[in-house]
Structures are given as structure tokens and as C-alpha cells.
Symmetry: C2
Subunit: 365 residues, 2 copies
């Protein structure tokens, strides 16, 4: 890390880059611990602004604003992984940025990320680099159909990707993703999608939350259940993968690893799909189902405080409220054992994450 | 109520009078539900200011500031019961104030409060009104020694009260409390101190949290445990008392009733000690030990939303961090299953509530 990183006192100020629901929930967790937060985000109606001590509304390229922001805070973290590299570098020279933005160089590029994962001996879906229409054709021969063409950079919630089926013209798919550097991924016939949200402290200790089982709809996470209905062996392997990734990055904070469980021989294999170097939607259940939330774990790590031992006290199911689904909030309020979370986003748009609910499915475990 | 009370939409703004830790935790709970908060408090370093959308720093008698505050919010609530009656009346004429401030006329005066409780057929400690040194002498004859002389108004955390033992001169005690209108209370030999935190919705439904057992030190709450080690009969009676008080007030929001459990005959009797028309320190465990917190229940009630069914998922013990005890926060961070809450108060002072910890003692129930 570029700068010495202080252990924060409870009256310290934590800078958060990004003003969405993840920043908002990070700030709420920081407040419980006595910290102040200062959120930096370009949009004046960022929902994280409503719960913090100070805000900066400015573009990520506004160096004067970045400089003032860095001056006001003791340490900086971020709620999303697509921070421009220049912004992260500019801030790193002024205040400690955690997790270290070098991680972003890996996770912002699907090709680099997949190579990184494979170098750790962890399997992924088959993939081939694609940088031209011709390369796409030969990649399809190698990988087969169906396959998914994904831009290397700036993809999330299904943006920047297209499925190539029998009958899809490679040239059309290439145009569809804007003719950008990409990878072609083979389809994985998975039994389950799971994720592990893991925290790593400055002392190198890692604390994983229980393995979570996820269901997506239109490429957006719809539900997460904890614990996942996987064998102890699969759960242990999933945690081991998350821990080895966090350790390889010398990571500080919370990260999430999305994985596929696939049948192989008589057993199961765990493949890594994606790494998110931040708190993650599939960890929202920890607010209501665990002795410590993913947001508090991240703040503890960033502050140089010890991680908590995460003790899940109930079986839970988290459901995202996407777009106009948020209008059903009153119905959710009436369901016993349901915790409603609304993000205070003014405008409802299709595909926009407006809130979530966590339902306690049973007593403990 | 003076004004029609709207059912709030999630983007509404809730006004909170008072900027201490209770206002702060109310604001954090409101944020989870998507509400914005505007805190009105006289002190510029009010700790609730750090987690809200808007703040007003002004005296409770500043009618121009109160007027602007009322204009900005959709509904008003309060974190403490000693709001000047004129302030509450001024605001009530402009926006709905919940719980209805008529409650304050009862709870701000120990004599009126005790008479109110007894009229409901609920026993209290023996007490006599005392308005002069002579009255104190005859009160002592009626009540006996030891006894506690308490000012009728503005008492909390042991302020405005003195114990009269054998050897205490009545005239000295009278001077000690400033010669104000008072009551003399007989000593109660209680087995346990308990409290019930109850929420009442606008529809008249009441939801009680589990009976909590409290220990005080120097008149300040030190620990609370849930559930209290009382029989089902005593627990049911305690809930019944809280419910009947909430209903008698036509209350909307959360209130706490502090009670004594005393041996009587072969069984137990429950006496009411005090009513707090607000969220209460003995309900802080609900944040970490229950499916809904007292703070969220209060916000739901004030918003006109349905109450949640409170489902305690663990046995818990809450310990206040008072004064310099807060310096031990790092030690608490290391204890498995402990949730640390710091209030972001800049200055540590003796007797000041700086934070609390909730320790999960077991799995469920």
C-alpha cells in the first residue's frame, strides 16, 4: 500500500466512493460503530447521501473535489468496482484506499480476472479471448454453442454480454457488444449458483459468511438463501476458494466470489464465475440473519479493527425488490419475520434495485 | 390528534426532536425503511446529526426554526420526554406529532403519572405528594424510612432524587432537590427490576417485546437481559400492564414501562415504577436479538405502517458503556457474538452513555 494505514479511532471519518445502496448500507454499518462517513458520488440524488455526515457531489475526474474529499477523511473505501483507475491512483497518493486499488486492475477485466483465478488452481468456465469478429468465429469452434460473449470491462447485471445460440450470427453478436475486447465463455450446466462473501482483516485473518445459494432472473440476482443446500464438502471447498482469492490479493475488506456447483464424476466441482471486490448483494441477508453484517465486517477491516466471528442465527431468504416490485412493500410489511429494506431511491426504473426483503425461514441453522 | 395523520410513503421525511443516541438509532432504523430524517436539536454536536438528511440546530423555543422544521417534514416524533409543552403544542398545530404530546403532560410529572397508573388498577410503590418541608415530615411518617424524595418534573438517570435514610434530615433532603414540588416514594423491596417495551400502531394493535430484566448502577441502567428470568405468569402480567397503559393513552409509537417484581403471599406482584413515552435503553437488545428493533417499530407506528411481529431469535445481554467504559471498545470487539454500538459522541463525560454492547448468550430462546 502506498501510505501507512492507521487503525481508526471511533470518531474517525471514512470516505466512501459511490453513493448507491451499497454505500448507504456501508454508511449505516459505520454509524453503528461510531464512525462518520463522507460519500463522494457524481449524482446529486445518490441514496447514500441521506445517511451521512458529509457529501461531495462531483465527477470522478474532478481532482479538486477529490483532493478536498481526501483531506476530509481518514481512510477511503468504495462500494463498486468500476472506479476509474486514475481516480483510485489520485486518491491513493493522498489517503489510504482499502481494498488496495491494484485489485481493480484484475477484477475490472474479465480476461485478467479469469487468468488470475486459473493461476490459483481454481477452475472456471472454459473461455477464450476474443478481440475481433474472426477471433470470435474460431473461439466458437473451440468453446461450442451455446456460449456467452462478454465485454472484458464494465459489465454488471447482464450488461455487456450476449448469449450466442444456434442460429446467432457471430458478426451480429460482435456488433451487439459494441465490438469491444471480449471473452467467449462456454455455457456451464450448473446444479446450483452459490457465492461466498468473505472478509479479510489487515492481520490476514479471513472470516467467511455461510455459503449462499443464489437465483438470478434476467441476469440480476433475485433471491439468496443461506445456508446453501450443498454438502459440507462443497461448502468447505467454496470457502477455501474465497479465502485463497482474498489471500492472493492481500485483500483488506469484504469481497464476494460467485461460483457454480457442477456435477462431475459421482461428486461435485466448484467453478468460479466472478469476483466482486466489494460488499455484495448476495450478502445482504447477513444484516438480519447473522451476528455481524457484511457491511460491518467491511468497515471493521477498513478501520483496522478485528473482524467479528460471523454467527448465523437463522436460516434466511433474501429477495431483491427490482423496479416496480418495490410497490409491493406494504404486502411485505405484513409478513411475519420479514425485514424490509428500502434504499430511498427516488425514481423507480425497470431493472433498478430499489430494496430487498429478508425472510427468516426458521429458527437457528 | 390535532391534524389528520397521513400514512407515509417510503420517500417521506420524518422529523425527530432531540439529537442524542435514541434519535440517532431512530434515524438509522428509518433509513432502512427508506425514509429521510430531519433532526431538530439545540446542540451543534448532537450525535444524531451524523446520520440524517437534514439538521436544525436551534433552541426548542425558537419558533421560526420550529416552523421551518415543521414545513420540511411529514410527521414529527421525539426521542425524549422532556420537550417543553409549548414546543410540542407549537409543532402539533403545524404537523402531526406522534406520540400525541398530551401523553407528556402525564409522564413529565411523577405525581400525575402515578395517579394515572393507579387509576388503571395497576399498583405502584407507595407515594405521597410533597410540596413543602412540613409536608415531607408527615409524608415520612406515612411512608416510613428509607424513602426516596423525587422532584415531580425533569428527573432521569437518578437526577432530581435523594434517598432519605435513618439520620437524613428532611429539611436537608428538601434543600437537596431544590425545594421543588416532589413526591415521596416508599422503598420497594423488589426481587427483580423488569421492563416491557411495547409498540402500539395507529390501528390500536399492540406488540410487546419480550420482558427484559434490568440492573442499574448509580441510578443508570447498566445491563438488560432478555428474556427476564420470571415466570410465565409474571411475564404475561407485565405485558398486560404495558398494553393497558399504551391503550389508555391511545398511544402511537413505542413506550417502555419499568416495573418491580415483588414477592407477595406465595407468588409475585408486579408494580409499575415509571413510564417512558419513547424508545428505551432497556430495548436496545432488540437491534441484535430480534427480528425487528424497537426503533423500527417506533418508525413503523409513526409512519402509519403495520407493526412487525417481534420474534426474538437469541437470548441476549445488553451492557451500557458509560463514561470512560467506552475506552474498552477494542476489548469488546474481540468477544465472539458481541455487537458493539458506539454513539459518535465526541466527548466522554462521567455518567454519559457513550455506547452499548449486545452479547448473544445462546442460540434461540
Amino acid at each position: 500500500m502506498s501510505l501507512p494505514v492507521p487503525v481508526l479511532k471511533p470518531d474517525a471519518t471514512i470516505g466512501i466512493i459511490g453513493g448507491g445502496q451499497l454505500g448507504r448500507m456501508l454508511a449505516l454499518a459505520a454509524a453503528r460503530l461510531g464512525f462518520r462517513c463522507h460519500v463522494f458520488a457524481p449524482s446529486p440524488d445518490s441514496c447514500a447521501f441521506d445517511v451521512v455526515h458529509r457529501v461531495t457531489i462531483a465527477d470522478y475526474t474532478d481532482t479538486a473535489a477529490l483532493d478536498r474529499f481526501a483531506t476530509d477523511v481518514d481512510v477511503i473505501t468504495y462500494e463498486f468496482e468500476n472506479i476509474p483507475a486514475e481516480t483510485a491512483m489520485f486518491l491513493s497518493a493522498r489517503k489510504p484506499v482499502l481494498p488496495d486499488p491494484v485489485v481493480l486492475a484484475t477484477t475490472q477485466d474479465r480476461l485478467v480476472e479469469k487468468n488470475f483465478i486459473q493461476k490459483l488452481g481454481i477452475p472456471t468456465a472454459p473461455f477464450v479471448e476474443v478481440s475481433s469478429p474472426d477471433a470470435l468465429k474460431s473461439a466458437l469452434e473451440a468453446v461450442g454453442r451455446p456460449a456467452v460473449l462478454k465485454t472484458r470491462r464494465f459489465g454488471y447485471d447482464g450488461k455487456g454480454q450476449i448469449t450466442i445460440r444456434n442460429g446467432t450470427y457471430p458478426s451480429a453478436a460482435w456488433r451487439e457488444i459494441g465490438g469491444q475486447p471480449a471473452i467467449l465463455e462456454g455455457f456451464v450446466k450448473f446444479d446450483r449458483e452459490i457465492s461466498v462473501v468473505a472478509a479479510r482483516g489487515r492481520d490476514g485473518s479471513v472470516a467467511c459468511f455461510d455459503v449462499t445459494e443464489n437465483q438470478h432472473r434476467d441476469h440480476i440476482l433475485k433471491t439468496s438463501r443461506a445456508p446453501a443446500a450443498v454438502s459440507p464438502t462443497v461448502a468447505a471447498r467454496a470457502r477455501e476458494i474465497a479465502e485463497s482469492i482474498a489471500t492472493a490479493f492481500d485483500y483488506v475488506g469484504v469481497l464476494a466470489v460467485e461460483m457454480f456447483v457442477v456435477s462431475k464424476g459421482g461428486g461435485h466441482e466448484v467453478l468460479v464465475n466472478e469476483i466482486a471486490p466489494r460488499v455484495h448483494n448476495s450478502g445482504h441477508w447477513t444484516i438480519d440473519g447473522c451476528s455481524v453484517s457484511q457491511f460491518e465486517q467491511h468497515i471493521r477491516a477498513v478501520a483496522g479493527w478485528p473482524l467479528a466471528q460471523p454467527i448465523r442465527h437463522s436460516s434466511v431468504e433474501m429477495t431483491n425488490l427490482i423496479g416496480s416490485e418495490v410497490d409491493d412493500y406494504a404486502a411485505w410489511l405484513a409478513v411475519p419475520g420479514v425485514a424490509l429494506h428500502l434504499y430511498g431511491k427516488g425514481q423507480t426504473r425497470p431493472g433498478r434495485k430499489m430494496g430487498h426483503v429478508t425472510r427468516v425461514l426458521s429458527g437457528p441453522k
